[in-house]
Every structure is written in C-alpha cells, then in structure tokens.
Amino acid sequence: MSDIAQIHSTPDSEGSDAEPEEPRRRFELEETGFKEVPKRWRKFYRHWKGEGDSLGPNEVICPVCKVVIRSTREFRPGDRVYCMPCMSRMVVVRSDDGSLEAKVTY
C-alpha cells in the first residue's frame, strides 16, 4: 500500500482509547466515477449526491470541498484523513449526534 493510502487508514493503535477494540470492518472500494484525482486514487473519493445520500462507516465528508473520502477500513475517532482534491488534512472525531466527522487540522 502506498504512503497516501496509509493516511486514509491509520493503524488501529492510533485510534481513541475510548473506542471499543473490535476489529475494524474492511471494505472493497469500487470505482465511483470521481475523475478529479489521478486514476490510482479515484476509488478513495466520491461525489456527495445530496439529499437521500448517506455515509458508510468507512466514509467522511471533507468539510472544505464537500467530497466524500473513503477508506478500505471503517473509520474510528483519531484517524487521520487526507483529502487529495482540496489538499486538506483532517482528523476523524465523534460529533455531538454520535456520528463521525472530519475536522480540519491546520
């Protein structure tokens, strides 16, 4: 796996201590038609489809450019995420409503 892909799915040990230690689910990422990054990285992103769309456990929305970022493993709080379309670095956090969201780190 390349360096950039590793950013998408950091080792379990880097997640929050408060999270359960169940093994992470793994996901096969299919092509999504996202053409804004080189072909090799396209499966890690998809366009948000608006109302009616929903995020999987391995997906977060980039708050800067609104692209959905996808991982081969489910996200956990503390995971670091890189958005190639807008070049933002983020960390996954648990929001007030219990869902996972990406927070930009400057």
């Binding site: 804004e36 608006g50 109302e51 009616g52 708050p63 800067v64 450019c65 692209v67 958005c83 379309p85 807008c86 070049m87 933002s88 670095r89 930009v104 400057y106």
Partner: protein
C-alpha cells in the same frame, strides 16, 4: 457575463497575490491558481462567443452587462491586493470569492446537467479547480491568521462588505432571470420533464420560485462563509440586506 467578470477578478487577484506571498510553497500554489483562473476566463469568454457575442464587442459587452455590484465586490478584494495585504487578499479571494463561486457553480451545474451537458461538463472542471483553491485558502490562512490575530477586525469588515455586494448581485441577477428560467423550464418539459427534476440544498429546482432559489443560494453561500471563517478563527459578520 457575470462568470467572466468574476473570473477576471479572480485572475487579477491571484496573480497579484503571487508576489505578496511570504513563502515559496504559497507562491507556487498561487501561480497554478493564476493559470486556473486564466483558463476559466478563457472558457467562459469562449462561451460568450458561442452565444453570439462578436470578438470586437467583447469588452464593450462586458462593460455594459457586468453587474455593478459584482464590480464593487471585485474592487473591495482588489484594493486589499493592491495595498499589499496578503492575508486579507487570500481570505477575500480563496475563501469569500472562491466560496461563492464554488456554490454558484454547483447550482449552475445542477441546473445544466440535463439541458446543457456541455456547459455542465465545463462547470464540473471548474468546480474541481475551486476545490483546490478553497483548500489552499483555509489551510494557508488557517495557520497565518493565528500568527497575526490583529488582522481579524479588518478582514471581518472586508468579508461583510463583500457579502453585501454579493447579495446585491444575486438580487439583481435573479430579478432579471425570471423569463429565461421560465424558458428553460418549458424547454425541459418538451425534452421530458421526468428526468429533469433536480434537488439542490433542499430546493426542487424544477418547481421553486425565483425568490426561493435566490434565498437558498444566498443562505448556502453565507452558511459556507460562516463555517469556513469559523474554522480559521475569524468571526463571520452578517451583511446588511440590500434594498
């Protein structure tokens, strides 16, 4: 017409910011952004030619039809650039102007997807560029603003002023668009309305009134300003509502 005017402003601002940037990574990025903006000006100008504007009439047509409030919006930004204010210039260009453009292009792309796929394709490419531009704006200024907190009041005032002229531009453009939107809907009905229903930020673009579309656009852009500025430590200032 407004797209060309807006992109010309972005081209002037981003090229001016290259020499103001305090570090080489920022200069490199802004140079690539300048090229992006030049390409946007070129493709939107070509669209004017495709729509029948003669080459020799281009400048006079832009002078005549560029919205005066959009021109003032651009002047507020370009004044910061000409004063040599890098931080305010990047906030004005890469967060306020690009944040507005990002949302406006998304709306135009959604409304063009079925009726004008060529234009929608052009807009998709432009949106991809805007993602990088807003990303640079937030990421670079997010760190710079924490080193220069004294800049915040001046930047907040600029954002408020630019937001006012943006809302005034929206009001002018939408109040003059009623007939063309009705025309587009008739054309959509002729081409098979079933495939043309488009939801955008909670509004059904096929049935929403002009006022509703303008309201959704304004709320979405201002909401984005608030979120983006909040993330980099700048307090969003509500603009007064244009008369």
């Amino acid at each position: 017409m407004q797209l060309v005017a807006g992109e010309r402003c972005a081209l002037a601002a981003s090229s001016g910011l290259v020499n103001l940037a305090p570090d080489y990574p920022s200069k490199h990025f802004l140079a690539t952004q300048t090229l992006d903006e030049a390409r946007h000006v070129e493709i939107f100008t070509q669209r004017l030619f495709d729509l029948g504007v003669a080459k020799e009439d281009l400048e006079s047509t832009i002078d005549r039809y560029a919205n005066p409030n959009l021109v003032k919006f651009a002047e507020v930004l370009l004044e910061k650039v000409s004063d040599g204010d890098f931080i305010a210039g990047v906030v004005g260009q890469n967060i306020v102007l690009e944040g507005m453009a990002f949302t406006v292009f998304e709306l135009l792309e959604a409304t063009s997807r079925d009726l004008n796929p060529k234009f929608a394709q052009t807009l998709s490419g432009t949106i991809a560029d805007e993602r990088r531009h807003v990303g640079f704006g937030e990421n670079r200024i997010g760190s710079l603003i924490s080193e220069h907190p004294e800049k915040k009041p001046e930047i907040e005032k600029m954002q408020q002023e630019m937001s006012y002229y943006m809302l005034a531009t929206f009001a002018d453009v939408f109040s003059a668009s009623g007939e063309s939107i009705d025309e587009g809907r008739k054309l959509a009905a002729q081409q098979g309305a079933d495939s043309l229903s488009t939801e955008w930020h909670g509004a059904d673009l096929e049935t929403a009134t002009i006022e509703e579309i303008e309201g959704v656009l304004a709320d979405t852009v201002l909401g984005e300003f608030k979120n983006r500025l909040g993330r980099i430590g700048i307090e969003y200032q509500s603009p007064s509502v244009p008369a």
